[in-house]
Each structure stands twice: as C-alpha cells, then as structure tokens.
Symmetry: C2
Subunit: 179 residues, 2 copies
DNA sequence: CTTTTTTACGGGATTCGTAAGGATG
DNA sequence: CATCCTTACGAATCCCGTAAAAAAG
C-alpha cells in the first residue's frame, strides 16, 4: 500500500536546503554539512516534488534560488530558528528535579495545603515523591533529611534567604522542605 | 561509528507529541493519528530522552503534561503552524509557470531590456522558455501565441490592463510589471 | 479484570555514501 | 576536460505494527 501521507516537510530537508542555498552549491554544502552530495540532491529534489515547484536553478557554477525557493528559504529559516529556540529552552532548563521529599506541616496548615500541594507537585514535578509529616506543634527541628519550617520563609535552603539549595525545589514547595 | 548528531527534534515527533497531549492519552491519540500506540510511546520517549526531561505524566486515566511538557507544547504548536503556513504558501501558489513565451519588443527597447529580461526570467522562472521578436515598428497584432505590446503596459494579458493572462507572467517582466 | 502504557521483535521502507553517468561552459 | 549535479545501488539504519508484558486502580 503506497504512502497516502500528505507531504510534510522534514526538518532535515529544510536544513539541507538552507545549507545548499547558503553554500551556493551542492558540493560546498556537502562539505559543510558533512553529507554526501547525493543526499543533498535527493532531499532537495524531494522538496521540489513535494511542493511541485522548482526551488533551485542548477548551474555550472552552482545554484541559485527561484522565486519559490526564496519563499521557502525565508520560511525555513524561521522554522529552524524556532526549533533552535525550542531546544535551547528545553535543554537549558535544569532537568526536572527528582528524588524524595519529606515535609512537615502543622495540622492546621496541612488541612488547606496538603491537597493542592500534592496535586501541584504531582503534576509539575512528577519525579518528586512527596511525603508529609503533619501534626507537629512546636518548631520542627532539622534532622537528616528533615528540615523545620521557617517563620518568614518556609523554604529550606532558600536562595533568597541565603542558604544553598538543591535544584529547583524551592520553587514548588510552599511550606516544605526538600532534600 | 555511532551517530554523533546533536539531538534535533523531528517534525513527526512534535506532531505526535501534540497529538498525544491533545487527545489526553496515547491510546486515543493513536486512533486519531492513525498510528500504533507503540510508535507514539517510542517517539515521546525519544523526545524525553533527547531533552533529558520528562514531558508527560503517565496515569491510568491517560497523560498530563509536566512543566517542561507544557513549554514544548507551546513551542511545538508554533513550529507546526509555521510549517503549515509554509506548505500552504508553497503549494497554494501556482506551480512555477512553465511553457514557451514569445514577446515582441521594438529594437530600441530590446537593446536595454533583453539582457536583464532574459537573465531575470531565466533565474526566476526557469521553466519558461522565452523567445523574443524584435525589430517591430508599428503596433504588434495578436496572433495565436503572439500578443502585441500595449502602450502603457507592455505585458500581454496583463490583469491590470484587463486582458486575461497565463499564470504569473506579469510578475517578472521588468519591462512593465511589478517585482 | 479492565484500561492504559511499555517493551520485544520482525518486516519493510528510508537514508546515506560510493561510484558511475551527464550536462555544460 | 574540468566541474558540478544527477542517478544507481548496496548496506546500515530507522520506523511501524503486532503482540506480549507490566502497572495501576
């Protein structure tokens, strides 16, 4: 059964196309992109067939873009830039913190906080396993893996408060501690 | 030698990811996208591994996005829209006009126009084979496949002038048309 | 037990690079 | 004839769908 798929441009096709245009020839682009010329030729041809339009004018000295090719070049650059931004945004951001977190909350606060808190942590930091210890009356003490609630800022190791902190936990635990 | 390629998102991965999020589950998305669930699972996993971040929270009832997943969702939609626009622009536009075009130009005008004109047509409308008949003195008459130059607008079948026109020729002839 | 996701695996398609074939000035 | 692009083709890779396995209420 033949592929009935609509023609959908491929990122690689766009990258190769832009590379060829910018290099001014398939040969140079092949060197720049570390790809065989034949691959470039093939991909550009696929683009042209997919669009039903000629994109490049092949010439002895290299290639130049047609009107359609120029349109595509413009759009392709936008798309590739957008993709670059996306990858930067997703990979630069610290990987989602993971681990086990135990917090202590006075029973009163726990009644209103625990539900939303659990929900929020579960949806936004799914790799955090959150455990709560409630029913505390006096100020909680820090034991290994267990930190007390502070009066002003409840966050342990809060950067605003000066203490160091393990990645990102302070941003989601409104009233808790992290490890 | 293993692929040393940087991680580069694939259009299909983005489409599948968005599909899964919008469907709310892999299963439903598989039906919507006409793809096996395993393929979706695989692609989403590849995305997550590529970014080093969890994107979806799998749950018995389906899936929900993490904070990173939401970021990606937003960007992916932009990219996919951009691609859609690109394809529309490239395929909706009439395919590059092709065929044989014959024009008549008075010798005087021909001397200055023919060079740039041929060049321009050759680079922007490579599928047009342009033939010129110069040396005309009086007003040219329209015979089949041959149209006279108009006084104001030298273009045959120029839409601005009212006559009908074969696709797009008026847009590239610097003797009178835009562009 | 039902619903959902994940993993395993085999067939088929795709991609790439090498190398030969053309076109063009 | 030199340079560039295209085509042919074999090998490695990738992708998808079927089907079995695991998780979770």
């Amino acid at each position: 059964m033949p592929r009935l798929d609509l023609f959908i441009v491929d990122i690689r096709q766009l990258r190769y196309f832009v590379g060829v245009v910018e290099a001014g020839s398939f040969t140079k682009a092949a060197a720049t992109l570390n790809v065989a010329q034949s691959a470039l030729s093939l991909h550009v041809r696929q683009l042209e067939e997919g669009f039903g339009t000629q994109l490049l004018v092949r010439d002895r000295t290299g290639v130049s873009v047609t009107a359609s090719g120029d349109k595509l070049l413009e759009r392709a650059r936008i798309i590739l830039k957008e993709i670059l931004l996306t990858e930067a945004e997703l990979t630069n951001s610290v990987a989602a913190p993971s681990g086990e977190v135990t917090i202590g909350i006075p029973s009163g606060a726990a009644r209103v906080l625990s539900g939303p808190l659990l929900e929020s942590v579960r949806s936004e930091l799914p790799r955090i396993s959150l455990k709560m210890i409630e029913g505390m009356t006096g100020p909680l003490e820090e034991v290994d893996g267990f930190w007390p609630l502070q009066s002003g800022c409840p966050l342990p190791h809060c950067r605003e408060c000066g203490a160091n902190d393990s990645a990102g936990t302070r941003r989601v635990l409104p009233g808790g501690a992290a490890r």
